[in-house]
């Protein structure tokens, strides 16, 4: 069934931060730990899936000239839901992610999927697309956050992995902003090297 493809493409072919190179702001900013990456990713999955469903359902109602504004209203609605829910039930995550939860509104991945996919496809396909892209986004954030946390602090999901001697002298450069850029760039290079056809 080709609908299932809409889900799996988000896991590798159109993996958001690495393939589409979209939504880099939260990718760089919130991946100081794997936990933060996971929290951010789950929030994005929720917003992306539901905004895709709603945009797709309303795609024949929304006038073309005001579509971006309409998408933003739809996305903002779900972002507020996520923000209130995390504030109520997952307060530490809410504190760690801070401004980046409201900023999901302007995450390019979500608006990009609404514009490029949900406004042209059916509800079920759009829902699967949102789930797939969101899952890929979450996966990328967890991998990046895990790498940075492991090297920068010696822990993974707040579990102490490295020895105490390493943790007291950890390479905290990876937790700083330049470390995020370098880590993202190296992962991007590795992914391109793995998937690109050999030039020789």
């Amino acid at each position: 069934m080709s609908v299932f493809k809409e889900f799996t493409k988000g896991l590798w072919q159109e993996l958001p931060p690495f393939r589409l190179v979209l939504g880099l702001c939260p990718v760089l900013a919130v991946t100081k730990s794997a936990t933060n990456g996971l929290g951010m990713g789950l929030a994005v999955i929720f917003v992306l899936t539901w905004s895709n469903i709603l945009v797709s359902a309303l795609r024949k109602v929304i006038p073309r000239k005001v579509r971006i504004a309409s998408y933003i209203v739809i996305i903002a609605t779900f972002v507020v839901i996520v923000e209130m829910a995390t504030q109520a039930f997952f307060y530490p995550v809410y504190e760690a992610l801070g401004i980046f939860i409201p900023l999901i509104v302007v995450n390019c991945v979500i608006l990009g999927r609404a514009e490029a996919f949900a406004s042209k496809n059916g509800v079920i396909a759009s829902a699967l697309d949102g789930l797939g892209i969101g899952a890929g986004f979450t996966m990328s954030l967890v991998v990046l956050g895990g790498l940075r946390e492991l090297i920068g602090a010696g822990t993974l999901f707040d579990v102490e992995i490295m020895s105490a001697a390493y943790r007291s002298h950890s390479f905290s450069f990876m937790l700083e902003a330049p470390g995020a850029f370098i880590c993202l760039g190296v992962l991007l290079a590795i992914m391109n090297a793995v998937s690109a056809p050999s030039s020789s």
Partner: protein
């Protein structure tokens, strides 16, 4: 032929006639006095830092070139120069793992990822140093007062710039400018040997391997900015000579800021680059949390090099032949 299509411009690079190997090995030669003074002051541990840095920079270069499928060019010595410059900025007893990490990131990320020699926007040695500097658990090893606490070399073992930061210019009566100039101060292995670095730098300038504009304007920038601060409050801010003979200013002016691919290529670009490097150095020394600002000033100004390269009011290489052709063509274009 339309005259408007002809563009007269300078060559993209200086060419002094030297090859890369000549440049690298002359740089190494110019730094020998500074290395000697470092070894004299700090002994075998300084040799360890220098050896580790040079070796890991060359290994990193070879490994990246193998990985990227390029010809391995560690024999040209450019990686060795980067490693050596990095080592000369560090305290003598920097742990080996820090040196290795800095050299690897400087060469692998700062140089090879951007395309290798000639394509790096920032000097690899400075990238490596900056990585160490912003890694919080490691900063203690870079604090000269803490790192060199076990040494007693017969002169004041306080880092002059840390004293300046802590107690202002009034705390500097222990330091004699001439003594500081002779290298009797704590600091990086080679960076603190001011007179040796100056000698090596003058050798590079005399050989035409380093343009005189950048070092001169760098020192001039330090002089101007520190004089201005001095005019405002002579009790709080140190004088220009003190700023020139302490910390990394001398090695920065002659060796760090003049990295071939991260410095401008036109005369006015070089002048502006040097002046701003010097002035930002003093501003960072006065207002930032860091005692010395040379490395960050050089890194910052290197980012402006693509803009500074557009300062072409007075191109250094004038090619009369090209200009004549253009004039003739213009005359032809006007007459036809």
């Amino acid at each position: 032929m339309k005259a408007a299509d002809l563009t007269v411009s300078t060559g993209s690079h200086w060419h002094s006639g030297a090859r890369i190997t000549d440049f690298s090995y002359n740089t190494l030669l110019a730094l020998v006095p500074a290395i000697a003074m470092g070894l004299y002051h700090y002994g075998i541990s300084a040799a360890g830092v220098i050896g580790t840095a040079v070796a890991s920079a060359m290994i990193a270069e070879a490994a990246m070139q193998k990985l990227l499928g390029k010809p391995v060019t560690i024999a040209d010595g450019s990686a060795a120069v980067s490693g050596l410059l990095l080592a000369l900025l560090l305290p003598a007893n920097t742990p080996a793992y820090m040196v290795v990490v800095a050299a690897f990131i400087g060469i692998a990320i700062g140089k090879q990822c951007f395309g290798g020699l000639g394509a790096n926007p920032l000097s690899p040695a400075l990238v490596g140093w900056a990585v160490l500097r912003i890694t919080k658990p490691w900063v203690g090893y870079l604090d000269f007062d803490l790192a060199l606490i076990n040494y007693d070399l017969g002169f004041s073992m306080q880092y002059p710039l840390a004293v300046l930061k802590a107690s202002g210019a009034s705390g500097l009566h222990d330091f004699n400018t001439w003594n500081l100039f002779l290298g009797n101060q704590t600091g990086g292995i080679g960076a603190s040997a001011i007179v040796c670095v100056l000698g090596g730098g003058l050798y590079m300038v005399a050989r035409g391997l380093v343009r005189w504009e950048i070092p001169l304007c760098f020192l001039l920038g330090v002089f101007i900015a520190s004089s201005l601060f001095r005019l405002v409050d002579s009790a709080a801010y140190a004088g220009p000579l003190f700023h020139i003979v302490t910390g990394n200013v001398m090695i920065g002016a002659f060796f760090l800021s003049t990295d071939n691919s991260s410095a401008p290529i036109n005369r006015w670009g070089m002048v502006a680059f040097g002046l701003f490097c010097g002035m930002i150095t003093v501003v960072l020394r006065v207002w930032s949390v860091y005692p010395d600002g040379v490395v960050f000033a050089c890194l910052l100004m290197s980012l402006f090099v693509p803009l500074l390269d557009k300062l072409r009011a007075s191109p250094i290489i004038v090619r009369p032949a090209t200009i004549q052709i253009t004039k003739e063509a213009r005359r032809e274009g006007a007459s036809s």
